[in-house]
Amino acid sequence: MIVHTLETIVREQAFFRGMKEPHIELISGCATNVRFAEEQFIAREGEPAEHFYLVREGLVSVQCTVPHRGVITISTVGDGEILGWSWLFPPHRWQFDVRTRRPTHALQFDGKCLREKCEQDHDFGYELFHRFMFIAGERLEATRMQLLDMYANHNH
């Protein structure tokens, strides 16, 4: 039987691909394997953002309650994708509700633990921030495309 250590699992994720071995060890030291049931809240808007997640398998909705419109799903995060960056910047609070739509298996990373390691090892901090900025850029681009409302029937 093959036993996968957390380091092995972390190394296999596309988000960490190419990361130096000592940095993988640092990351893995702050990681835990977690499972969530369907329709379980992972985070609530305004709560302390103490973690980020890498979804290994499942689907998670990022949601916001809008007066007179109810709960709106802003985006979803699926296999291999990163959830959450509020842990990076003060005030370290979740901006939206986060809820699973399917049973979800994820890696959970301790934000405080990682922030401390980033302070102690700036090379590691640069590497991690660089990867998060790439994800933030992709999400910004996708949001801009959503704002274009490409499929609207402007003649209707």
Binding site: L59, Q63, I72, T73, I74, E81, A142, M150, Y151, H156
Partner: protein, 288 residues
Amino acid sequence: MLTTTTETALIPPAIDPMLPEPHRIQRIWQETDDTFTLEVTPLAAAQQSAFAPGQFNMLYVFGVGEVPISISSDPAKAPVIQHTTRVVGTVTKAMRRLKPGDAMGIRGPFGTHWPVEFAEGKDVVIVAGGIGLAPLRPALYWLMGQREKYRKIVLLYGTRTPEDILYRRELEQWRGQFDLEIQVTVDRAASSWRGNVGVVTTMIPRAPFDPSNTIALVCGPEVMMRFTALELVKRGVPSVSIYASMERNMKCGIGLCGHCQYGATFICKDGPVLRFDRIAGTISRAEI
């Protein structure tokens, strides 16, 4: 048999391509809030109705006008053909008011087709946006009808909201077959939608296909096709393996009138299906 892709239509057009052939509406139904499908058959039994996936017809509502609409049905089922369209102007509004048994004129089929023959032995990734799924549906029928000739077939489909998903029942049936990977996403949704939310391009990085051995077929709003092609190239798909279906104001259908000129091409004759490297330099220019 399909022989060419971009230069000529493999299906010979009607003897006089400017003469509408009368067709009878068999069925008409609403697909979504602003889209509907017409099913028609030719009045003359001997009339040539074969078409290739991706081609379009000119549909004439008598006394109102004529519009270009892509064919959205199974090529194997011709002469029964379907057109799915959106209600956007005078002609499509009049078309929506037609009833089964009414007659209308059709010229065509016109234009180039999806390169389904070049895709044999390869993965095929189909990226559709909104009503752009309609011109791709005949290609899906074709690929599924000859499934053994292709490797992975992946459909990535993005729409505005869950209510705007076209051919929902069919998508569910295809998804159940396990030899077609279907991923659907919407740009916005209420909490009751339990699927993906986000633009269709975000599905490309993790979609299961081999970029070095893939043919990509893309149809949707031009801005969506632009960003989709960029994302496919980023993933490693060569631009010569990406095909897009362009839409312009087609009138004559045979490259004479010039209404659908797009740079150096006429979309009705050289398109609508064009290899992406032929339009990559012009697709982002506002003046073309």
